[in-house]
Symmetry: C2
Subunit: 329 residues, 2 copies
């Protein structure tokens, strides 16, 4: 079997996570990286990996079986995924939940017209968390869903703090409230407010002479991001931030509690949880498993857009169906 030839568009944290995941799988190889930066400034880990300018995306369709899109959901992917799906089978991690139906429609139209398979919105949320919700809801129609995130770094919240005047750097952790998690896991089916589910811990480096009281107030009162949460702000030095908060851990739990029985007398708790040292490396690992499925669907003659809901789990695995039944069932 020839290895699946992978390309990556974008070489930030996620792009590097994808690169590492490709290297961990024997049935695929990374052939090239497309970048909007100066290609001479980009140095992939593999020696035989080409670096191409993003403007040359159309020039390598014979070299790549599946193109991984490693851009951001705010501005990159809404443009890049439909454009790339005209040229390649593609996989993206589009994660703006509210805009997924529109993104799906745009990508699906292009992929069908040009005969490609596109897998969108994979990673862990959306992605593995989503598919866990679908399984649990299908099994347990009478119940309630809960999602807890963290303890982990929220890039969006960290960025929001960095935009405050007087802030040099910041790192924000989303933390589930232990008592809320316990109540959910007990099957008590609690109703929980935003504040009862998560707290937010902020580690902030202030610029010299900045008004730290004003920064703290700007953080804890910030609408949407912090005002609805119990938020703690700790000022630290840049050295401390670099030393103690360099990682990008994340994770969380998707829990569904439900009942069965003639009178709903039996309670069941279904939980899927992740504890991740590196959010981008784990996300990249999910995308790469989906690239395998994407290529198999393309080889089977399928076209159009897919999500994790549409992918039979066997397609994600390097094992054959026979091996899976013998070893994993």
């Amino acid at each position: 079997m020839n290895p699946i030839r992978i390309g990556i568009l974008g070489y930030g944290n996620l792009g590097r996570g994808i690169e590492l995941a490709v290297a961990a799988n024997d049935d695929m190889e990374l052939v090239g990286v497309f970048t909007r930066r100066d290609p001479a400034s980009v140095h992939p880990l593999g020696e035989n990996v080409a670096v191409w300018p993003a403007t040359e995306l159309a020039a390598h369709t014979d070299d790549i079986d599946v193109l991984m899109l490693a851009g951001g959901s705010a501005t990159d992917l809404p443009e890049q995924t439909p454009a790339a799906a005209a040229l390649y089978n593609v996989v993206d991690s589009f994660d703006t939940h509210a805009n997924i139906p529109a993104h799906f429609a745009a990508v699906d139209a292009v992929a069908r017209e040009t005969g490609h398979v596109a897998v969108i919105s994979v990673g862990w949320d959306p992605g593995m968390f989503s598919v866990s919700r679908v399984y649990a809801n299908a099994i347990m129609p009478n119940g309630a869903d809960y999602t807890f995130w963290g303890r982990g770094v929220s890039q969006g919240h960290s960025d929001a703090i960095r935009r405050i005047p007087g802030v040099a750097d910041a790192r924000q952790y989303t933390v589930p409230v232990p008592e809320a998690l316990e109540a959910v896991r007990s099957g008590a089916n609690p109703e929980l407010t935003t504040r009862q589910k998560h707290t937010r811990e902020c580690f902030v480096v202030a610029e010299e002479g900045a008004d730290t009281a004003a920064i703290e107030k700007a953080i804890v009162t910030m609408p949407n991001y912090f005002a609805d949460y119990d938020t703690t702000v700790t000022f630290i030095s840049q050295e401390e931030l670099d030393r103690d908060h360099a990682g990008i851990p994340h994770g969380g739990s998707v829990i569904r509690t439900g009942t069965t029985g003639a009178a709903g007398e039996n309670t069941h708790v279904i939980e899927y949880s992740l504890k991740l040292d590196s959010n981008p490396e784990f996300t990249g690992s999910v995308l790469v498993a989906c690239a395998r499925a994407c290529w198999r669907m393309a080889c089977a003659g399928e076209t159009g857009c897919r999500t994790i809901f549409d992918i039979a789990p066997a397609l994600l695995s390097p094992m054959t169906p026979e091996e899976l039944r013998a070893k994993m069932l």
Copy 2:
């Protein structure tokens, strides 16, 4: 949309669990139960549910879209599932792991020849635990798998105790060792013996005048079932057993820990866990979700045998693909 018409072969604990699960889903209805007992002695919950002798299995192929097989794996299903797959689309919970490949081959041959879809070996283990292992392995190729069962009732171990002379009744609980669970969840990747992973708690009703010391010794030294475990035996009265141990709870955790990074420096923990008040009602709920997928595959013109690995998660859900993308992704 017409509801999916469900039949059940066998009306024990699992058959009743399936019946309750069908009632919890608006898009399906239970039309009849086949039984090897006197049909007059079987009383389904629903008023319009027929009860037929199992010998009349071939007489109702026009009435049933998917037949659920609620028999046991030791002797019932190896015969029943291939025979039923010649007449119906079928779903079973065949759980003798070592014999799954042979069972698959036998059922697949019949289902292909007669144009039916058969979904085998669904439930939670095999079933949801298995598919969790496949997802986790596909995402995280460098890692280790752990499965813990319990705290829950093992029918097989309870039966083994009841076969000991002098035992009137018994209930056996499989219990994961908390320290082992903690070590695995920490990502420490421990090597664990059978004894280190689970303990076994036995509640035994002795016949009057029985030698309880001999019974206890027979239990704790029983090969395969108990000898490799730390086993506790507690003698109680039949009244206590009936009062305190009437339920059939079970559950457990499938955990995969793995690493990513250029030097494996980042650790990830993926866990799927279940806490079930009623093993047969939860298993029945999984089978019924799979019946929906079975019928959809049959309607799409597919034939042959499938496992949970071959079923796109969307097929299990009553929601449309559009609803799933909008609400669950």
